[in-house]
Every structure is written in C-alpha cells, then in structure tokens.
Amino acid sequence: MGDIMKKVKVRIQRFNPSKDRYATYDEYDVTAERWTTVLDALLYIKAHIDHSIALRYSCRMASCGSCGMLINGVPRLACYTKVYELNTDVITCKPLPNFPIIRDLATDFKEFFAKHKSMKPYIINEKADGNAREFIQKPEDVEMYLQFSYCIKCGLCYSACPTVGTDKRFPGPQALAQMYRYLIDNRDDATKERLRIVDDRHGVWRCHFAGSCSTVCPKGVDPALGIQLLRAYLLGYGKEKRKKGAMLYSRT
C-alpha cells in the first residue's frame, strides 16, 4: 500500500484553572499517515510546535488508560484512536468531562478512584486467614467476573455517563461494574455488605441503562452489563449464577 498522508488540523482546549477564567482553543497543523494515532499527533505538537500542552499518556497501547480525552465529542483513548478512523480533517481534543481539570488535557482522577475504593474492590473472605490456603475456582466461575476484571480505569465510561454528569454522589459505571465483579466472585463472602453499599438513592438505581459506558469502553468490559446484572441480583434474580463458595484447601 502506498503512503497515504493528509494534513489535519488539531484543536486543543487550553485551560489553566489557576490563571484562566475561560477555556480557549489552540490550533495546530499536523501531517497524519495511515497509522498515526491522535496521541502521536499530540506528542508531535508537544515536541515540535508547542511544549506547553499538558496531557497524560504512558503505555501507548490501550493498556494503562492514561490518555483518555474527549476526541471529537466522544471520550476515547488517544493512543487507540487513529486519525484516519475519525473521517475528518479537524480533530478537537478536550479534557474528559466529569473530571476536574488540572490543566489542558490532564484531569484529576481523585474522586473517580475514591468512588472505586468505596466499592471495596478486593476479596473479603474470613476463611482466607494467615495459613497457606488456596481457593479452587472452576473456569465457569471465573467467566462470571473475568471480563469486568479487564477494566483499566481509564475513566471513559465515567465521562460518557449522563448520571455522573449531574449526580456527584453516583459512583459511576466503573465502580458499579467493579462491585458486581467482586459480588459475583464466589471467593467473596461479603454479599450483604456489598448490596447495602449500592442499594442507595444515589447507588445502582440511578443507572438508567443509557449504555454509553459500554459504547465507549476500549477493553470490552461492558460496564452496563455488570450494572444490570448487579441490579437484577438486588431484585432477587441471578443468584443461581453465583455458585456456592469456592473451595479452600490447605497446603500441608
């Protein structure tokens, strides 16, 4: 295949909360090739045109979740979005909505992580004491929660969710999906405690299955599925899926 290059205009929202009252846009011209990602374009701008742009990135391969931003109106990972797939000559990059802005494209994840932490994202099992014991879990038990464990905490779902946009107390799709991940894991013993956390007027019931979270998720986690299954569990359905606790055997 011959080289395909095109000139694109990249508009980046600039905002420094300590200095600026309003956000402005700076525009840069970048030449994109067939494989150029939005992150490549931004790093080119940062290296050769304007060093002052603030953005977060790390792995460059949709593994760390650092480079989430609003690209042409939709939350995406910059490293995972090719310029060509946007089908436009103008690319507008803004910080992820629903996250406080640190500067330009970098946002604050403190509240997001705090909500995740409030879901107790770890196995709670009193039988797992200090002795060397191992849980035996069948492959079909692992399949109940495996896809939700692929979450990279990129925050795209949190940005897309309409409820998060207005309800400060709503945990968000990522946290609720993680709650289901631990609830349905049959190594976990804290079912009642977990259900009590989400059975709140700002908990799982404020999800209305808009599905935007699953639409934008780059890892196939499908948080909307986790949330509806969590809700069904609260309503008394799906309990049969959670087979009796995984066995422990001791190493002697």
């Binding site: 207005t166 309800d167 400060k168 107390r169 709503f170 709140d200 007027r201 404020r206 609260l234």
Partner: protein
C-alpha cells in the same frame, strides 16, 4: 421514615407495568363506544361511565399507579440534578405531597361524579 431504594424501585416497576394495562383499558373504553369517539365525550356518556363500578375502579387504580410512578420518576430526576440533605428531603416530601394531591383531587372527581 426511609424506604430502601430497592423497595421504592420495585414499586416503580410494578406501578409502571400496571399502568400500561389500566391505561390501555381506559383508552379502549373511549374507542369502543358504538356511536364513535366524539359521542363518547358527550357529557351524558361521560357521566354514565362514573356509574359503572368496574370502570370507576379502573380509574382509581390508574390514579394511584400513574401518580406513584410519575412522581417517583420526577423525584429520581430531581435527585440526580442536585444533591444535599435539605434538597433531597424537600424533593421527597414535595413528590409525596404532589402525588397525594393529584390522587385526592382525582378521587374527589370520581366520588362526586358517581353521586350525580
């Protein structure tokens, strides 16, 4: 007095489903009058409906289910728009009051019309 949110939402689901059936019956009543839709709106025909006990029961059930479902929906929207203890208490009581007010006014119409 705090109902668990899961209990409130169960009521929301069941009143929604019940409202579908009841409103369908209510609409069918209007459409199955032999003289036609407009004749069914004549004063004498409307008043006669209120003498029919089963229709009156349907109307009252519609009032109850739709008021609960509608005002709970409004409560949910208002809770999502803004948070805080005072706001959330105010929303809860206003929605309960709104539902009761509509229910009371509609029941008054049913009782008075059935006695005319």
């Amino acid at each position: 007095m705090h109902m668990r949110e899961s209990s409130i939402m169960k009521v929301h689901y069941y009143t929604g489903l019940a409202a579908i059936v009841l409103v369908a019956i209510h609409v069918l009543f209007r459409l199955t009058v032999p003289e036609g839709y407009y004749a069914s709106l004549e004063y004498e025909n409307v008043l006669a409906n209120y003498k029919n006990i089963s229709y009156v029961v349907v109307l009252e059930l519609i009032l109850i289910t739709v008021a609960i479902h509608g005002f709970n929906g409004l409560r949910v929207i208002l809770l999502e728009l803004r948070q805080g203890n005072i706001w959330e208490s105010a929303v809860r009581w206003l929605c309960i009051a709104g539902a009761l007010a509509v229910l009371a006014y509609g029941t008054r119409t049913i009782i008075l019309a059935s006695m005319m």
